[in-house]
């Protein structure tokens, strides 16, 4: 007995030592050697190697433990909540009054927040809310409709540039440009969706990525019209009934605009999910051919998904342009699309609460933990991979609408007369 246990421990240790040696070898040239190509000196950073070795040794245990756990629970659990959460929180999650109180408190918190924190922090909150809007928009396409879309930043750019160009050439104000930016982005989304409708999931992803890069490169190269790589500066801030506002006040004003937009987005997107279109989208995600057989207009519904998703990116773009008063194409690279996608993936595809949490993680954490910001992207990239490997449903998984059947004839084991379907 003792012997067997000892053998298992030795075996596990051996595995981890091998993994650690492998990673020390693998990362040797990149992590240890640092060359200066100008004065031809070489730095040897052996401490990095020791760190990698230790980290790989420890993490390999976790990796195998998580793998084993994943394999053990290969049969999907009935509820998407983990067991301990269901035990302790289920009462709260199901309890509507509690949820409304919490939501009300959060609403109140967000309303008074800009008055108690500094301008700098208000700025961070604005970018957090912008990402919430962007993430929720992308969530319609990626999460609800299941179309992997890698060009979201292009529509963010289209929104931002429509405000900048409309105000530069035609003298349009913020409040006219805001709906127009959304509409232009939505039209562009539909225009993109038309040709790509036939494509399969992974091809679609690459085409949208290509489209995103084309938009950015066109903005960069159409020098005289869009300002080229230098971008457009002196974009007017939004007006408040003709009153003159200081920079700090304008910031708070923009905060309220983006907060209102985020609220509208949250309400609209959650209503959308249970609507006829939303259900059609979710059905389309599960099985296209079956959907068509059921009489769902595949083309129309997909176009709708693209239009609805990209419209929010357009709104967010207009607000971004108004907030920074300066935009250039390098703000809208593939990196930006990847960040928005990781917000959706981390939070939980198709889940609105998840997207908000994901945006908080990606925007707020690195701002408040400065030391952490250098490692921000690598941590989120790691999280993206780990999430896919171990928990593809995200932090807060989407829950389908549940229906409860009350039937007096129903005789369940626990004696109740109603059942969830």
């Amino acid at each position: 007995m003792e012997q067997a246990r000892l053998n298992i421990i030795l075996h596990e240790l051996k595995k981890s030592v091998l993994v650690s040696l492998w990673f020390m070898f693998l990362t040797f040239p990149i992590m240890v050697i640092r060359v200066n190509t100008l004065d031809h000196t070489i730095m040897w950073r052996w401490t990095n190697m020791a760190m990698i070795g230790c980290a790989a040794f420890v993490l390999s245990f976790f990796w195998r433990w998580a793998m084993k756990k994943k394999e053990a629970s290969a049969v999907p659990a009935k509820s998407s909540w983990p067991y301990w959460a269901r035990q302790n929180w289920a009462g709260y999650v199901e309890n509507k009054t509690w949820i409304y109180t919490l939501q009300g408190l959060m609403l109140l918190g967000f309303i008074i927040l800009p008055w108690i924190v500094s301008t700098y922090k208000t700025n961070i909150l604005i970018s957090f809310l912008t990402y919430v809007v962007l993430g929720l928009g992308l969530n319609i396409i990626v999460g609800v409709a299941g179309l992997l879309f890698l060009g979201h930043a292009a529509f963010y750019a289209i929104g931002a540039y429509s405000y900048a160009l409309l105000s530069k050439y035609l003298g349009f104000g913020f409040w006219i440009a805001l709906p127009m930016g959304g509409i232009i982005a939505a039209l562009a989304g539909v225009a993109l969706a038309f040709p790509v409708l036939r494509l399969r999931g992974d091809y679609l992803a690459i085409v949208t990525l290509g489209f995103g890069e084309i938009v950015r490169l066109l903005l960069e190269n159409a020098g005289s019209f869009t300002g080229g790589p230098a971008g457009i500066s002196n974009i007017p801030r939004p007006q408040f009934f003709g009153m003159h506002l200081s920079v700090a006040e304008t910031n708070i004003y923009i905060y309220y605009i983006v907060f209102a937009l985020a609220l509208v987005t949250i309400i609209a997107v959650s209503r959308l999910k249970d609507s006829r279109i939303g259900r059609a989208l979710q059905a389309l995600r599960e099985d296209e051919i079956a959907c068509e057989a059921m009489g769902i207009d595949r083309v129309g519904v997909k176009l709708m998904a693209f239009g609805l998703g990209t419209a929010w990116a357009g709104f967010a773009g207009v607000i971004f342009a108004a907030k920074t008063t300066f935009i250039n194409p390098s703000s809208f690279t593939f990196f930006e699309s990847a960040i928005i996608l990781s917000i959706v993936v981390l939070g939980g595809m198709g889940s609105n609460a998840g997207v908000i949490l994901g945006a908080a993680f990606l925007v707020l954490l690195p701002e408040y933990l400065r030391a952490f910001s250098e490692y921000r992207m690598i941590l989120f990239a790691t999280a993206m991979v780990l999430m896919m490997v171990f928990r593809p449903t995200g932090l807060i998984p989407a829950r389908g609408r549940r229906y409860v059947v009350h039937d007096p004839d129903l005789d369940l084991d626990d004696g109740s007369k109603s059942k969830e379907v």
Binding site: M31, L217, M384
Partner: protein, 302 residues
């Protein structure tokens, strides 16, 4: 018609095209075997270039002669990139083999971002000067102004490695197993082919070719940074799609086609829109002929 300009563009396109073809092979092989767009493949190419740069610099300070530096750096870069490819497959793709199409793609995007940021943190986010490792050959002197020695080495090295790959796929047992796995993985497994091994070897071969491309092009251009893999990866993917993804000769042809058409388009139409041109070609091809030049159209059965 200005013939000298035409030949300049033709030969320039040939050099570009061979590099695209080298990277495209990795995409196409992986796609052929596990139907995954390995988004991080461009990053393997970039890692190859970085490893080559580091090893070459170390060897240069130790006083090795130039041709030996080139060969040793290329070998080490190829070995390391192959190891990275293998590790990547084991960590990020293997656990997802039965998880549909989108999860592995998202995981691959994560991997790509991870490797880029790994280079930023461990090395630098600036451009590094890559030493000129390819000497000027005397016999190239007469045409050196249109087709330099490094162009020559790139075209020859990629030609040789592609010829070897073709022979490997056609005539070895492993090559046969690869073809079988690409055709039908389940059936191949039933016939006793170790699919996991085949997939690992696919990643190793694809990554090695990408690393070779990375070292050669970095020495040709003279600069590397963490972001070179993104553009190269997308373009190589375009090449793979042009040739019909999944087909190795298709990837070679697609690479050359993309290289040449890019070269002529920038030479004769507008040089600012080089990347736009490649992306538009990708979009147009995926929409109108997703099976590529060589591929056959697939009919989806219910």
């Amino acid at each position: 018609m200005d013939w000298q300009y035409f030949f300049e563009l033709l030969l320039g396109g040939l050099t570009r095209g061979s590099i695209y073809a080298l990277i495209a092979i990795g995409y196409t092989m992986v796609y052929g075997v596990i139907e995954l767009i390995n988004f991080a493949h461009g990053e393997v190419y970039m890692l190859g270039a970085f490893t080559g740069l580091i090893i070459a610099s170390v060897l240069a300070t130790l006083g090795f002669p130039i041709p030996m530096i080139l060969i040793l750096a290329a070998i080490v870069a190829i070995v390391y990139s192959a190891c990275y490819g293998l590790t990547m497959e084991k960590v990020a793709y293997k656990p997802l083999r039965s998880a549909g199409r989108l999860s592995p793609l998202i995981s691959a995007i994560g991997m790509s971002l991870f490797l880029q940021n790994y280079i930023i943190l461990a090395q630098t986010s600036d451009f590094l000067a890559f030493p000129r490792l390819i000497p000027d050959f005397e016999f190239m002197e007469p045409i050196a102004h249109v087709f330099g020695s490094s162009d020559f080495v790139i075209v020859v090295a990629s030609g040789i490695s592609m010829a070897f790959l073709t022979l490997f796929i056609k005539f070895t047992k492993m090559g046969k197993a690869m073809r079988a796995t690409a055709q039908n993985r389940k059936m191949a497994m039933l016939l006793g082919i170790d699919a996991d091994k085949v997939i690992s070897i696919t990643f190793i071969i694809g990554s090695s070719l990408a690393a070779l491309g990375g070292v050669l092009i970095a020495s040709h251009v003279g600069m590397v940074n963490f972001f070179i893999g993104f553009m190269a990866g997308i373009k190589a993917f375009t090449a793979a799609v042009l040739g019909g993804i999944g087909s190795i000769p298709g990837a070679m042809l697609g690479g050359l086609f993309l290289g040449l058409s890019e070269s002529f388009a920038t030479g004769y139409i507008a040089s600012d829109y080089e990347d736009v041109f490649a992306f538009s070609l990708l979009v147009v091809f995926l929409i109108f002929r997703p099976s590529g030049i060589m591929g056959k159209a697939k009919v989806e059965k219910v």
